[in-house]
Each structure stands twice: as structure tokens, then as C-alpha cells.
């Protein structure tokens, strides 16, 4: 059970900002699609929303398992490997990976094979990094040319500064970067992955959250949020 010293009534959500528009800070405030959706789901499920914890992406799962947080809302893709560690709610978002390049340089790959020899980065612990690793294993990329970041914004920054040739990141986030920075989407890797909120495997409140998510989708709140954050 949620053994966080407090009551079962409170769900403490955790995230990793710097992943606009899902979660990012603005004027010191944590905002984004995940933030709104998670808060809505928690309250509709009849729980109190605890204080948000904003930590390293790769620390999220250990933090959850150590009861430091009760729910991960961080644009986290549901994967087998992660499912061995934690449980996921029903998927709430479908996504693919974008290959993002600088718009100021003339490197514009059109397919995975064009990435051969390039320096490619991703945030460590993300599916983007998973894709990069797959490319390494397939021999497209050189292992020495892979860069890991604590945070996608730092990766985008590095891309702008010319320290990497491309970064692999979820489509909506890539789109957001392309709108605000001198970067552009080169092509898309179809992964068909879906995001879910992460919870402890022994936390039976997950059912209530799933019900709440379903309700949010049905009554149109979900679409309002999509409009607000992605358009």
C-alpha cells in the first residue's frame, strides 16, 4: 500500500520537467499536459493531489518504488522492461519518435540510414534513448557517437549549439522544440508507443485512476486539454 507515512487519500505525483508541452516550468510553476491530466485524474478518482516532485527522469521509477512518490506523470512510454518494475495505467497518449536536427546546418537525414556516422543524442532512460541504442545495435550508429542527457531541453540546447547532429525525442515534444528553437523535425521513427501513468505494482488505487481516465476521455475534458497544450 501507499506507505508514504501519510494516508492513502493523498497521491503524490512525480515528474521530470523540461519536456514541453507535457511538463515544463514557467515562471517557476510546473505546468503542462501531464500535470493537468494527472491532477484531474487523481481528484476525479477521489484522492487528494499531493505536492509535485520534479526530479531526474531516470530517478522516477526508483523514487516510486521507494514510496517517495505515488504516481509518475512524465510522458513515460509503457515498455516491457519498465513493466517489470512498476505498473502502468491505461495508455493516455499515443506517440512516435521524431529525429530532430538543427535548422541552421545542412545535415538533413531522411531516413535511419542517413544517420550513419552522425552524433545522436537522447535523454537517458527514455524510449528515445532506446531507439538510439537500437540503431547502435543495428550498426547504423557508432556507440562512441551517442550522447546522453539528463533532460531533453539540454539536449535541444546542445543540438542548437552544434554539439550533436540529431536528437531522438517524442513527436509532440519535438514539435514544441521546433516551434521555439532553431531546430526542425527531419523524419519520424514509427514506434507506436503509448504513454501511461506509472504506479507501484502493489498499489490498488490504480483501478480508480483508470476509471477516472476513462471518464475524462468520455466527457471531452481530454480533448480540451489536448487543445490547450498541443495546438
Amino acid at each position: 500500500l501507499g506507505g508514504n507515512g501519510g494516508s492513502d487519500d493523498v497521491i503524490v505525483p512525480g515528474t521530470n520537467s523540461g519536456f514541453a508541452p507535457f511538463e515544463f516550468t514557467q515562471g517557476g510553476e510546473l505546468v503542462g499536459f501531464d500535470i493537468d491530466l494527472a491532477e484531474e485524474a487523481i481528484s476525479r478518482a477521489g484522492y487528494e493531489v499531493g505536492d509535485w516532485t520534479d526530479i531526474d527522469f531516470k530517478s522516477l521509477i526508483p523514487s516510486l518504488n521507494e514510496d517517495n512518490i505515488d504516481l509518475i506523470a512524465a510522458g513515460m512510454t509503457i515498455t516491457d522492461k519498465r513493466q517489470q518494475q512498476i505498473a502502468f495505467t491505461d495508455p493516455y497518449y499515443e506517440s512516435n519518435q521524431s529525429v530532430l536536427v538543427s535548422s541552421e546546418r545542412d545535415f538533413s537525414p531522411e531516413s535511419e540510414s542517413d544517420l550513419s556516422g552522425a552524433i545522436v543524442g537522447a535523454q537517458s532512460g527514455t524510449t528515445g534513448e532506446g531507439e538510439v541504442e537500437r540503431l547502435v545495435e543495428e550498426g547504423v550508429l557508432d556507440a562512441e557517437n551517442v550522447r546522453q542527457y539528463d533532460n531533453y531541453t539540454l539536449a535541444a540546447q546542445d543540438l542548437e549549439n552544434g554539439n550533436v547532429d540529431a536528437i531522438v525525442v517524442d513527436v509532440p515534444v519535438a514539435q514544441n522544440f521546433a516551434d521555439s528553437r532553431a531546430v526542425e523535425v527531419a523524419f519520424i521513427i514509427e514506434t507506436g508507443e503509448s504513454f501511461g501513468f506509472g504506479m507501484r505494482q502493489d498499489d490498488d488505487r490504480i483501478q480508480d485512476i483508470n476509471d477516472a481516465l476513462a471518464e475524462i476521455e468520455e466527457d471531452g475534458t481530454y480533448d480540451d486539454l489536448v487543445t490547450e497544450w498541443f495546438e
Binding site: 508514504n4 507515512g5 501519510g6 503524490v12 520537467s17 523540461g18 514541453a20 515544463f24 516550468t25 514557467q26 515562471g27 517557476g28 499531493g50 505536492d51 516532485t53 520534479d54 526530479i55 531526474d56 530517478s59 526508483p62 521507494e66 514510496d67 517517495n68 533532460n151 531541453t153 539540454l154 535541444a156 540546447q157 542548437e160 514544441n176 521555439s180 528553437r181
Partner: protein
């Protein structure tokens, strides 16, 4: 240098976020204070044990000291954060930090500082001449009384310069708490320039917070210089 450099708009951006950074500064100062306090409370007994203790206790203390001084602070910090079962303690309002993260950072910085302060204090005790102890014992003071009334008062004074060093080191190393996401000054700086569209302000933001760190170390060092002079034994070298 690159053309990204110093734009008026970016300075404007730093200025408009002064409250946010000020809170970060408050967190940094609090963390420095709690860590140093922990370091003092644990370090001075540790130093005394290394000089006067014996057997298990002494070797345990000195081994712990070597381990704490031989491990990078960032490793200590993540270890405390992930390795120790610190319960969830909620958020501190106003400063907007999570207490358990703050506690983890305090433990890491504080225990490491204890290991160093212990060395400082040990050195100070050992720099006192043997004769001070003998003289105290010769008037009939017990060993404990001699340590308390003769050795400690002098050793504490001699520790001030070492303590001063320790202060600056802890203050600067609070920035490593970015590794566990504590919203201190550097973390907040990063949050600022990670906001969409503020990528060009990296340099301005970091220069601004560096200035804050510098002012803090500089003024406190001067203040400690003053304390040292104020409490120096007249005519004596420190």
C-alpha cells in the same frame, strides 16, 4: 566568442525572475547552514575521538572519515537519496522544496563536512603542546576536565581558519544538489533557461547566480575573519 553572448533582453529575463532566484538563494543558504551545523555537531566529537579515543570506536570513526572524504559529493548525495529510506516529509511552503530531498542533501553534505571538520579539529588539538595537558593534569584536573577547560577552548579557536574553508566548500557544493533535483540556486537557474524560448539566456543566468555565490562566500569569509580576530587570544598567534 560566440554570438550568443550577453543580450539586454536576457538580462531583463534574469531580472524579471529575481524572486524565483532569491528563493533559490534562500534554499542554498539554508542548506549550507543545516549541513555545516550537522558537520559541526558530528565532526567535533569525531575529531576528539580520533585524538583521545581508542579501539573500535576510534578506528570506526577514522574509517568512516576516509570513506566520506574519499567519495565524490555527487555520489554521496545520490547514495543518500536513493539508498537511505528517508520517509516522505512533504513540501516546505514558500521555499517550495521537498523536505526529504533537502534532508538527503543535508545528510550528504553534512556528514562529509563532519569528516573534514573532524580533521580540522583533530589537527587543532594535536597542534596544542603536550604541556598544556600535563599542566592541567598537574593542578589536579581530571582528564575530562582538562580536555573541556584547557584543550577544547584553544582548539576551537585554532579551528576557525579551517572552518572558514569548510564553509566556502559546503556553500559551493550545495549546487551539486541539482543531481537530486533540490530547488536550490543552480537548479533554479537551470529551470529558468530550460523554459521554452529562453535558451539564449544560459550565460546571463549562470553569471548572475555565480555572482550571488561569490558575494556569499566573500562576505562570509570577511565576517569569519572578523570573528577570528575578535576571539583571538591577545598576543597569541592563532
Amino acid at each position: 566568442m560566440d554570438p550568443i553572448a550577453l543580450q539586454a533582453g536576457d538580462w531583463q529575463f534574469v531580472l524579471s525572475n529575481w524572486r524565483y532566484l532569491l528563493l533559490g538563494t534562500a534554499v542554498t543558504i539554508s542548506l549550507t547552514a543545516t549541513s555545516l551545523a550537522l558537520g559541526f555537531l558530528a565532526g567535533f566529537p569525531a575529531g576528539a575521538i580520533e585524538v583521545y579515543g581508542s579501539g573500535r570506536l576510534k578506528s570506526a570513526v577514522s574509517t568512516a572519515g576516509v570513506v566520506l572524504r574519499g567519495t565524490p559529493i555527487v555520489v554521496l548525495m545520490v547514495l543518500v537519496h536513493f539508498g537511505l529510506p528517508i520517509p516522505q516529509l512533504g513540501t516546505l511552503p514558500v521555499l517550495d522544496i521537498q523536505l526529504e530531498v533537502f534532508l538527503a542533501a543535508t545528510l550528504a553534505l553534512g556528514l562529509r563536512s563532519a569528516a573534514y571538520q573532524g580533521q580540522v579539529f583533530r589537527g587543532a588539538i594535536q597542534s596544542l603542546s603536550e604541556g598544556q595537558m600535563e599542566a592541567a593534569r598537574s593542578v589536579g584536573l581530571t582528564r575530562r576536565q582538562a580536555i573541556r577547560h584547557v584543550v577544547f577552548p584553544q582548539a576551537v579557536r585554532r579551528s576557525i581558519p579551517g572552518f572558514q574553508n569548510e564553509f566556502t566548500i559546503v556553500l559551493k557544493d550545495t549546487s551539486v544538489a541539482i543531481a537530486i533535483g533540490l530547488a536550490e540556486l543552480l537548479t533554479r537557474a537551470e529551470n529558468l533557461y530550460l523554459q521554452p524560448g529562453q535558451g539564449t539566456a544560459v550565460m546571463e543566468v549562470i553569471l548572475a547566480i555565480s555572482a550571488v555565490y561569490f558575494v556569499l562566500t566573500f562576505t562570509t569569509n570577511r565576517a569569519l575573519d572578523y570573528v577570528e580576530r575578535r576571539y583571538a587570544v591577545p598576543g597569541g598567534t592563532k
